[in-house]
Symmetry: none
Subunit: 121 residues, 2 copies
DNA sequence: CAGATCGGTAACCGTTAGGTTACCAATGTG
DNA sequence: CACATTGGTAACCTAACGGTTACCGATCTG
C-alpha cells in the first residue's frame, strides 16, 4: 500500500501525527485509540509498508517512529500541482541580467542562483 | 469522502494531475484513462465532494477543473508533521495562502484542521 | 521455572470501493 | 423532427478494507 492509501485512513493519520511527537509502543498507541491492539498493529504494518513508519526493537518492546522520508511522494505530488511548476524568472527579469553579470564578474565561489537572499545594502 | 481518501485512488490522482494542466470534459478524461466513462464520472463526483474539483456547465458539456483549495487539508497535514512548525516549506510555498484561506472558508466536514493541538489537560 | 507483558498473525465477518453494463435526460446538429 | 453526443445514475458483482476474537512466540520478572 502506498503512502496515499496509507494516509487515507483517519486512524493511520492519527498514528502518524502521534509519532511525529515521539516514538511509541503498540500498547501505548492502542491505549490512545479506542480500537483493539491487533487493529493498531495492522495499521502500523501498513504504515511501515508505505515507508511512513519504522520500528526499533528494544527487548520485547517495539518502538515505532515516524519516517518522514515516506512523505516525499505526497509532498512531491502536491508540489507538482502548483500552477507554475517551473521557476518563474520573469518577475525578476530586471534583476536577472545583473545577477548573472555579477556572478560572472566574481567567479569566486559558485554562488549560482541563490536569488534574492544576499542583499547586503 | 475527504481529500485524503479521494487521493488514495491512483486514477483520481491522475485525474487531478490532468486537470492541473487545464480543464477537460468527462469524455476527454475517459478517453485517456482506459476505464469506462461512468467510472470516471463517479471518480469526478468523489473528487467534487472532496472539494478537489469543480465543474462548469457549458451547454451539454461539463468542464471539470482543479480546485486547488481542496488540497488544503493535505498540505496542512504535511505541514503539521514538520519537525519544527516553521513556515519555511518551499514545497508548500504556493499553497500556503490558499491553505489558510481554505481553512477559514470550508471548516465543514472533518477537515482535521486542529491536528492534535488541544493538549490533554 | 511460572507467570505476566508485549506484539504479531490467523480466521472470520460486515461494509465499502470500484469496476462493469444498461438506461435515461438534456443538449446540439443534420 | 430525428438522431448523435454528452454525462449522470442505478443495479450488480467481486475484491479489499477494517474491525473483532483467539492464539502464538518472545521477553522480562517474581
Amino acid at each position: 500500500m502506498d503512502a496515499f492509501a496509507a494516509l487515507a485512513d483517519p486512524v493511520r493519520r492519527d498514528l502518524v501525527s502521534r509519532l511525529a511527537n515521539g516514538s511509541a509502543r503498540v500498547v501505548d498507541l492502542a491505549g490512545e485509540h479506542a480500537i483493539s491492539r491487533p487493529a493498531i498493529s495492522r495499521h502500523l504494518r501498513v504504515l511501515g509498508e508505505a515507508g511512513l513508519v519504522a520500528a526499533d526493537d528494544v527487548g520485547r518492546e517495539r518502538h515505532y517512529r515516524l519516517e518522514r522520508t515516506g512523505l516525499a511522494p505526497v509532498a512531491d505530488y502536491l508540489a507538482a500541482l502548483e500552477p507554475q511548476p517551473r521557476f518563474d524568472d520573469s518577475v525578476l527579469d530586471g534583476l536577472d541580467l545583473e545577477v548573472r553579470r555579477a556572478v560572472r564578474d566574481r567567479t569566486g565561489t559558485d554562488a549560482i542562483i541563490h536569488t534574492t537572499t544576499e542583499e547586503t545594502a
